[in-house]
């Protein structure tokens, strides 16, 4: 097991350079440790020098557009395919040299739930348990726990082929959880589920945090914000950002934004707002009486703004700060990635040194 202090470097978007807060992580045991893995298919490079790690009990989201390399990375971690270059270790085992040991530590849900339609849920999960060497009481206990956790009791004797897409997804998740592995790798786990089921699965993944290390890939950005402690954004095979959702939005924010809505809007209102020290720009909002104020980065001007509005008797109906959503971050990173000179070096939190745990 290794401990790797990670240091995030700078990131650049177009001509602008944004300083990235350093993420120095010490005393954390990494269950998943990926070092510079590259995967080439002929002349096509699917992933290029990807480096990241996941601590024990951490939930990491893997974000990226289609074809970015998320599934390839997951397939390398689950030993389905080897990396062309680099090393990946799961729970201390090397993915190339000790694949069987790695596979025992992992619960993997691929993009399409890997279910056999001719088997019932019970038969399928029993088969999965036996493949993983579980027998007798251990298998029965694991089966009952998983069925309960995913609420599959009502359909346990039904053929999987007759189940709805949502139930099949849950059965797929059940096979990943059956042996209670320390590492879970979930490729788009909530695809095909209805909103209620999505919330349930998110709650389940959240409940796994702490005792399990989870990597999940997703297109649904609120999911990453809701479930994950850390986000890795991958685009065209390269990691373009890695941080907490909050830190990511803070990194890419060039100014603080405050939205206000006024009851009365006199003609000199905009001019007076601009006169507040630290206000960079005042933009009219969509609704009548609303304005979007851009303030200097790092300055909270809400107090000054409120004081001006109240003293001028404009009638303050609403005042709130606007934070950057993960959608904004994602789009900004993936849209402008083409213009980045050296994105891999520029953005990724790179391991500075490695020490033994």
């Amino acid at each position: 097991m290794s401990k790797i202090p990670l240091v995030a470097a700078n990131c650049r978007f177009e001509s602008e350079t944004t300083s990235v807060s350093s993420v120095v992580r010490t005393d954390i045991t990494f269950v998943i440790d990926v070092q510079n893995i590259t995967k080439r298919y002929g002349h096509h490079t699917a992933i290029d020098r990807v480096t990241f790690s996941v601590a024990k009990g951490e939930v990491l989201a893997f974000l990226g557009p289609n074809g970015a390399g998320k599934t390839t990375t997951m397939r390398i971690l689950t030993c389905f395919m080897p990396a062309t270059e680099g090393h990946a270790r799961v729970a201390g085992f090397d993915c190339t040299d000790q694949p069987l040991d790695v596979k025992r530590q992992i619960g993997y849900l691929p993009e399409t739930p890997p279910v056999y339609q001719e088997l019932t849920v019970t038969e399928y999960l029993t088969f999965v348990g036996r493949l993983r060497g579980m027998t007798g009481q251990t298998l029965t206990a694991a089966f009952d726990r998983t069925i309960g956790r995913l609420e599959l009791g009502a359909v346990r004797h039904r053929l999987i082929g007759n189940l709805s897409r949502g139930y099949r997804q849950r059965v797929g998740l059940a096979q990943a959880l059956l042996h209670d592995p320390p590492v879970l790798i979930l490729d788009e786990p909530t695809v095909g589920l209805d909103p209620k089921q999505i919330i349930e699965i998110r709650e389940l993944i959240k409940s796994l945090a702490g005792s399990h290390s989870v990597i999940l890939s997703t297109h649904i950005l609120p999911e990453a914000t809701a479930v994950c402690q850390r986000v890795v954004i991958i685009n065209k095979g390269r990691i373009v950002a890695e941080d907490t959702p909050e830190q990511l939005s803070a990194r890419l924010r060039h100014s603080e934004k405050v939205s206000i809505t006024l009851k009365a809007v006199p003609s000199d209102c905009e001019m007076k707002l601009r006169a507040i020290p630290g206000i960079l720009n005042v933009l009219p909002g969509q609704a009548g009486g609303s304005f979007l104020l851009e303030c200097e980065l790092g300055r909270d001007l809400r107090d000054e703004i409120a004081r001006l509005v109240v003293s001028s008797h404009w009638g303050l109906l609403e005042l709130r700060t606007i934070s950057m959503t993960l959608e904004d971050v994602f789009l900004q990173l993936t849209r402008h990635e083409d213009h980045l000179a050296e994105p891999a070096e520029a953005m990724v939190s790179a391991p500075a040194e490695q020490t033994d745990a």
Binding site: Y41, C79, L100, P114, Y116, E123, L131
Partner: protein, 256 residues
């Protein structure tokens, strides 16, 4: 239950819930029964002819007239139906995306292949077991030597196992079951036809090698009641070679 046994149980369940095993089994048993009836009919006609020519009761050899012909004809039936039994084994896993699940489970590729092969072999041996009814019924009406029949059954079991291993290998090549069936059918037919090429070339090195590669003469010797170690080695090594190739094909998908 070991992981290999789990794979066998799952595959057997897969066969019995799909119509494939029932259809293939019914067709195989029907054709086996028809062929038996025809050869017994021919033998009966020959016996009547002999009785008319010689007078008195004619002694006919059922081993030669019925069973040797029957076992020789069964080759064609096996050639057609066994690729249908094996075509789904890996192709379906690829199609339904469960292949990735199997390869990311803590089980060796060898165990997956052996599990799948043994499951289809058990089904084939079960079908073959049902055909023992034919000599058993004939035993009630006639005397014949059981030893060449047992060697014939050994031949059918070994030939079937070789055919199944070719089918398993072909199934690993593609996700299309029809393609898998045609590849194995084509391979087995070619292995049959090269026997003719071998006899054309006669007693030359190339001729001997080609004749050895074809399963025809190895199977014929077993059907005639001869157990030759070289024939057992041929079937054993052919089977192992095909399963080894399957392993390489499955392994190679990880590198693509």
């Amino acid at each position: 239950m070991s992981p290999v046994q789990a794979v066998i149980a799952k595959e057997l369940r897969g066969y019995f819930v799909s119509p494939i095993v029932y259809v293939v089994g019914a067709v195989f048993l029907l054709i086996f029964g028809l062929l038996s009836y025809l050869y017994v009919g021919f033998a009966g006609a020959q016996a009547i002819q002999l009785m008319q020519m010689q007078g008195g009761v004619a002694q006919i050899n059922l081993n030669d007239l019925v069973f040797r012909n029957l076992f020789a004809s069964v080759r064609i039936v096996l050639l057609i139906i066994l690729p249908i039994l094996t075509m789904r084994l890996f192709a379906e896993e690829r199609k339904l995306r469960t292949f990735e699940f199997l390869l990311t489970s803590p089980i060796r590729i060898n165990d997956i292949i052996i599990g799948k092969f043994v499951s289809v072999l058990l089904i084939y041996l079960g079908l073959l077991g049902l055909t023992v009814l034919v000599p058993t019924v004939l035993m009630l009406f006639s005397d014949f030597d059981w030893n060449p029949i047992w060697t014939g059954y050994l031949g059918m079991a070994l030939l079937g196992a070789l055919f199944l291993s070719v089918g398993v290998c072909a199934s690993a090549l593609t996700e299309n079951q029809i393609v898998a069936a045609f590849v194995s059918f084509g391979t087995l037919l070619s292995m049959w036809l090269i026997a003719g090429l071998g006899s054309l070339l006669g007693d030359t090195t190339a001729g001997r090698i080609i004749s050895y590669v074809s399963y025809m003469e190895h199977y014929d010797r077993l059907v005639r009641g001869l157990i030759d170690t070289s024939d057992l080695v041929y079937f054993g090594s052919g089977l192992v070679l095909m399963l080894f190739l399957t392993h390489r094909i499955v392994e190679s998908t990880r590198w693509k």
